[in-house]
Amino acid sequence: MTGDPLFHDGVDLVDIGIMGLKVVVAFGFLLVATMFMVWFERKLISDMQNRIGPNVAGPWGLLQTFADGVKFFFKEDLRPENADPLVFRLAPYISAVTAFLSFAIVPVGGVFKDVPGTTGTVNIFGRETFLQVADPPIGILLLLAMSSIAVYGIMLAGWSSGSKYPLIGSVRASAQAISYEAALGMSVVAVVILAGTLSTHDIVAHQAGGINTWFLVTSGVIPFIVFLIAATAELNRPPFDLVEAEQELVGGFHTEYSSIRFALFFLAEFMNVITMSAIMVTLFFGGPAGPIFFGLTWFWPTIWFMSKVMVFLFIFVWFRATLPRLRYDQLMDLGWKVLIPLSLFWLMFISLKELRASNDWNWIATYAAAAGGLLLGGTLLITALRAGDRAYQKDSEDA
């Protein structure tokens, strides 16, 4: 039985109340985490660059983001003359809403044991429920859907500004986002093959048996690496932040945005970083699963989840401080010529491995057949392309 046990025996007011509470808590948590993330990033980078960083507002500059946020409210909201008024207003919302909606499918807590489908619940007001806002049967597909919608936020923001830099920035950004979204989807498939389900809750339940059951290990490290790179690029984070390459594009798609609308983009960007970290933890690192030591049992999974997410937040910042920005052609090459073929190959490999294990096929026969198939496919491919080239050359000589 899948789905949240909260809704198994009908829906009443308490259930709706719990649902609402979850939404509010998740939203509040994400907002606070986002504010913290901005501070964390600035502080960490300044440490890495031997600077002090924000240190005035609050202890260790903790309230810096809050101060910036307040400042945004009091700033004038400019809209360029040429801008498309409706779309210009719409774009930041698309960014912000999609950023939050992806987070809804992440299980943030609940005690997971090594029996899929039966665990991971907590008790709120005497009701069993999952500690995640929604557990739709399509689960992880929601992430893909939301990231494909998020492209609109960027694209429309740039287009509606009615100005050159944002337009170029946004077309670049959306081309980049869709390029890496393909790779992102392919790397998720590897996890789905192993878990046999799309639901994020069940994916976590499959990884509850300790580190060697984490999909990071069982899927080989490749899908994770592909996912990490693709997610970084999808979020337009450095070293893939060509979209906002200040030297050539001013500020990218949000050049014309100011005040609270700019803040929404800013918020969405950092929210997405947190969401993607959380999704990575869910897919490859067992989500909230982990050992429970003492005291409150529901408390530990959440702690595990948060500390795992923290590691990824650190990695994202680390990337930014360490890696130089890619060139656009390198970016596209990496996406289409490395990540997609690699993840497709790995996908087939994993499915073969799984099938071999479940059907008890012979080791040597299986892999020999696979190698033969690969060889045959490769030969066919090269022959086809060669033939195409010859015909093409002949045509152009005739012309």
Binding site: D77, A96, A134, I168, I178, E181, D333, L347, M348, L385
Partner: protein, 101 residues
């Protein structure tokens, strides 16, 4: 469950405008005064390729959830499917449209 997503959106949306209301002033000063520009055709190729791989992913997901059930038959079918699609990618690669100059 399905309503969950909508609920979030519904709950989320009203929260934004309240912030918006805090901004009393708005002005239409235009600092740049740009023109609408055209983008390049190479973006179009990437978009078409994206459609290709998106549809591919959509077909892969049902198979991926039921891998064991379809066994060897499913694997071979999927291998052919992926092979044909990769052919498209390699064709574009070979023709140099993936090269960004």
């Amino acid at each position: 469950m399905a309503g969950g997503m909508l609920t979030i959106a519904r709950i989320l949306r009203p929260q934004r405008p309240t912030r918006q209301k805090l901004i009393a002033y708005e002005s239409g000063v235009d600092p740049v005064g740009g023109e609408w520009a055209q983008s390049q055709i190479r973006y179009y190729v990437f978009a078409v390729l994206f459609v290709l791989f998106d549809v591919e992913a959509v077909f892969i997901f049902p198979w991926a959830t039921r891998l064991e059930v379809y066994g060897l038959f499913g694997l071979v079918e999927m291998a052919i499917f992926i092979f044909i699609l990769v052919l498209g990618l390699f064709y574009a690669w070979r023709k140099g449209v993936l090269r960004w100059v």
